[in-house]
């Protein structure tokens, strides 16, 4: 580090300047971390921590609780493992998690300036985001792309079009659409609906509960019990997922406090016609369902208290520096 007034002109003066500089650097670093919402108390490389909370958050991604939950930025990249290759439009997602005594919440935030929440046209595709867990928590980590034959994965996929709802008539599909009458609208004539395909129904939840044992095996779970909701604000999507700790069925993990599992993230940008393998994906990262509570909201106060001595020291150093 080079000082403009000449290092060592006076040894005492130099030492004072070094102290002052160290204080200033620390202050800047602390301020930067604070501004980025990153809690340096949580190890960034160690994965995601699910914090204990007494009060269950609302099923609302903008619930205030999430602003105090430390997030981990998970890098995403294009899916290049199997056909169809693609994605990579969204470089990262921030993952947060909390849990109550019996429910796990996962919250995603990622940048996507375009809101695409309908898939009514042939060339229109909806935004979507998913989190993926090994079928059995704590087991050998399956292949992060859809699992493998002997180790499955459980995927919770939120879909913007499902959240919006399925159009029921031609007026909803086409601006100038008009039909005099339909001879029958019995479920039989909606074949996919008739056989229970969750794509085809007005779902109670915008999050699909899916299981997979490798590429092309994605299958809807018997119980669609994952709740969730998303909100598009500004340039980003925030999505919250919620499920009971207890496993609803085969291929879906049981969660419990004090255990570890893994979580991976995928997002689809509808504006780029992303669906299926055309997506941005992450590797698995550890999800610790910890016993520690959400760091209190006095985080900012703590930072100020931590920073105060350095500010004072900086001021004193400046005074010394100015002295002849």
């Amino acid at each position: 580090m080079r000082f403009p007034r000449g290092l060592g002109r006076r040894w005492e003066g130099g030492r004072r300047r070094t102290l002052a500089a160290a204080g200033a650097v620390t202050l800047v670093a602390a301020s930067a971390l604070f501004a980025a919402g990153v809690n340096p108390a949580v190890p960034q490389a160690a994965g995601v921590t699910s914090f204990q909370t007494e009060k269950a958050p609302a099923l609302d991604p903008t619930d205030g609780v999430w602003s105090s939950v430390p997030g981990v930025e998970v890098p995403l990249s294009a899916q290049k493992t199997t056909y169809p290759f693609g994605g990579g439009q969204i470089p990262a997602a921030t993952v947060r998690s909390v849990h109550t005594d019996d429910k796990l919440y996962v919250h995603l935030t990622y940048r996507d300036p375009t809101l695409n929440d309908e898939s009514d046209g042939f060339t229109r595709f909806a935004d979507a985001a998913a989190v993926q867990f090994p079928a059995t928590a704590g087991s050998t980590v399956p292949f992060f792309c859809m699992g493998q034959v002997d180790i499955g994965v459980n995927i919770w996929q939120w879909r913007a079009d499902t959240q919006r709802g399925i159009p029921e008539n031609v007026e909803e599909i086409s601006e100038r659409g008009y039909v005099d009458m339909y001879p029958s609208t019995e479920p039989l004539w909606y074949s996919a609906r008739d056989v229970g395909n969750i794509m085809a129904i007005q779902a109670k939840t915008p999050v699909q509960n899916l299981v997979a044992l490798g590429f092309g095996t994605l299958t809807q779970a018997d119980s669609q019990v994952v709740s969730g909701k998303a909100a598009h604000t500004g340039d980003e999507w925030q999505v919250v997922f919620r499920r009971d700790f207890a496993s609803p069925g085969e291929g879906q993990p049981t969660f419990s406090a004090g255990t570890e599992t893994d979580v991976a993230v995928a997002v689809w940008n509808g504006a780029e016609r992303e669906r299926n393998g055309l997506k941005s994906v992450s590797q698995f990262t550890t999800l610790t369902i910890g016993a520690e509570p959400i760091p209190p909201n006095r985080t900012s106060l703590m930072f100020l208290l931590l920073a105060a001595p350095f500010v004072v020291m900086g001021g004193i150093a400046l005074v010394f520096w100015r002295l002849p």
Binding site: G121, D161, E168, V170, T185, W189, A192, M199, L218
Partner: protein, 411 residues
Amino acid sequence: MADVYNWHLGRTMSYPYPAGPGGGRQFAAVFNINRCISCQTCSMACKSTWTFSPGQELMWWNNVESKPFGGYPLNWDVNLLEMQADRDPDGQVWNPEARREVEAPYGQFEGKTIFETANGKDQVVTGYIPSNDDWKAPNIYEDAATKWAKEGVELPAHSGWFFYLQRICNHCTYPACLAACPRKAIYKREQDGVVLIDQERCRGYRKCVEACPYKKAMYRPTTRTSEKCIACYPRLEGQDPLSDGLPMETRCMVACVGKIRLQGLVQVGSDGLWVDDPRNPMYYLVHVAKVALPLYPQFGTQPNVYYIPPRWVPREYLHQMFGPGTDAAIDAYTNPSRELLAVLQLFRVTQKIIFAFDIIPGPKVADLNIGGQKQEIYDDTVVGLDSQGREIVRVPVMEPTFQRPGKLNSI
């Protein structure tokens, strides 16, 4: 990618899956373009049977469009032809000299198929998804004559021309839709070769819509899945009470007013070729008379609907659409053999699928001169047999006429 043999191309080609074991039947049909009046009765028969519900408004599993200007969806074929030409510059050519019976009846296609021009990354089949607007207005502005020849026109090609092209799913031997589906939600039935989308597994990715060169997989927004022609498979299976449990033709076939359609089931061998069966009307029309040709065989899917090409259309256009067999097919249709003339009478005379025919010779009834060629017309009788070898229909070449007594002629 596996190597499979495509007899339309007369060569092996790359396909994502190996060929099936063979031994089953294959849905096939012959459409005689020359007779179509575009009454759209076929389209309405299909529509009123399968696609009359919310979300299916733009969906015509069967459509009839006017060529060269019409298309449903708009420009479906020229768009793909252009993509193929771009990806395989100067490569989309045939070698008719390599022609061999049954194995390579049209010679050898030396260009790349839609499977072979794909990048293999985001696409395993070259294709595109038409926009909503492309599907919205079938037949609009079609049939608008752009030429009027005061002096009239003569064969072999008219100066102002158009023709109707009747289209359903081709239930291809190497379906592009099936190849493209990342979920394996599309399957081809061994018993009849019908290609279906599993509505339980489909997740509406529309890779099939993108891949099908004939654009016969369609997206339905009210179920967020894709749907397609199912070849009226309950009828094929003999489930229609009218058929006594025997295979029956599809709704679009039997509704045809112009009697242009004949549908059948052919036996496929373990080598993927049609088993030699010259008494089967499909086999006879395609392999013996060589009067019916596949639509855009160069795409490489080995489609199973065959067309008798229109006589009056400039040959260059037809060569691109039907391949190098066009001239021979038109010649065969213009001057039909005694046998072909009899088989052509089987179009639309029964709803049951004809598995074999017999011809009972009849007397000579006319000497004609067609295009400078002498032609003898015999009033033979053709007999259609069902899958059990039982007679289901009997038709003479000459339509019987009756002269009413003068005193009753009061109309």
